[in-house]
Symmetry: C2
Subunit: 187 residues, 2 copies
DNA sequence: ACCTGAACACCGTTCAAGT
DNA sequence: ACCTGAACACCGTTCAAGT
């Protein structure tokens, strides 16, 4: 009558936070937002769905951890001209955002999990604009332009072609467009 | 043993396409993307969920019909300067997008339903830029800037404050930012 | 601490049937 | 033509329990 319970295979290593995050990103990048379910992720990890809850609390917690993981290394170089520093920061951000468009959509869907990293990146851009000597209204306006444009470009990338060549084209295009926009900041 | 089947009340008018669309927009604007389910919409209409399927096929069909309905009247004025016509078109688009941020998110989520209206609006902007005499590479670049920025601003609005004052501030802000961007187009 | 199965309250959608 | 209830194959998540 009773079926076996508890951990079945002693030989299987316990799923680590990092393994779950890696598998989650793979699932999201491969199958898109539709395929990204707790149950599908558990299947991929050969694990019970509840294991994931043990590590991340709930789905929002997992998404939050994913964005911390993906955006962690987006930082501005410490030195250089204003132009170069902001261009470098935004390119780095765009690169992460375009590499995982599904994650971008997930974040946009749930206001509750707007990640600390995204907030920090926004703050960094803001600070760079202020350092560049822009008056506060102009700096706020250009912050919006740069951030909103980047997010819009992410959406376009998430909806369109996701082949390698399309991604590298998109990066190139973004950088060129950024240069065009930064002309506006500097006048 | 058998319970009553078929249409129960003769006094209830059949749900029209337009009633369903109106109720769907209300549900989406009030409760956001999370609350927007076929079953919740049916409840609100006091109707069986399957009634909606009869009119729109499936959920994607409903979203598609919603976007046709919401974006239908976004058009550029026939006459005026290039600057005024493009500004008017983009303000109209932004106004619709910001009035129904949940719809914007729904569309972004499903590449399959990128609506004809959105495509048409994009094409209209493109044509205005070409008419303005921009060389094709510059016109493609500015099309991306204007459209992606507008979508990014929509996302920001969808995630943030949705009070009446915040919405009117956002409109004002968008128009001012647009003017700033259009300076870049004209040089 | 880490993982499990069973269960709960939801989804979108298909089906066969009523009027 | 228009609408119905029941059912199917999913969801995220809670619970109580195993090792």
């Amino acid at each position: 009558m009773t079926r076996p319970r508890g951990r079945p295979h002693r030989d299987k290593a316990p799923a680590s936070r990092d393994q779950i995050l890696t598998a989650a990103l793979e699932l999201l990048d491969t199958g898109g937002i539709e395929a990204f379910t707790m149950r599908a992720l558990a299947d991929r990890l050969q694990v019970n769905p509840m294991t994931i809850y043990h590590h991340f609390g709930d789905r929002d917690g997992l998404i939050d951890a994913l964005s911390e993981h993906v955006y962690a290394e987006v930082t501005a170089p410490a030195s250089g001209t204003f132009h170069d520093r902001i261009r470098s920061l935004l390119n780095a951000y765009h690169d992460r955002v375009i590499s995982h468009p599904g994650l971008t959509l997930l974040i946009f869907r749930q206001p509750a999990v707007f990640p600390r990293q995204a907030q920090r990146i926004t703050d960094d851009i803001d600070q760079l604009l202020v350092e560049a000597g822009l008056p506060s209204e102009r700096s706020r306006r250009w912050l919006n332009i740069l951030v909103d444009f980047t997010h819009g470009a992410a959406i376009a990338a998430a909806m369109g072609d996701r082949s390698n060549s399309a991604v590298s084209d998109a990066k190139d295009d973004y950088d060129k467009t950024l240069t065009e926009l930064l002309k506006g900041v500097e006048t």
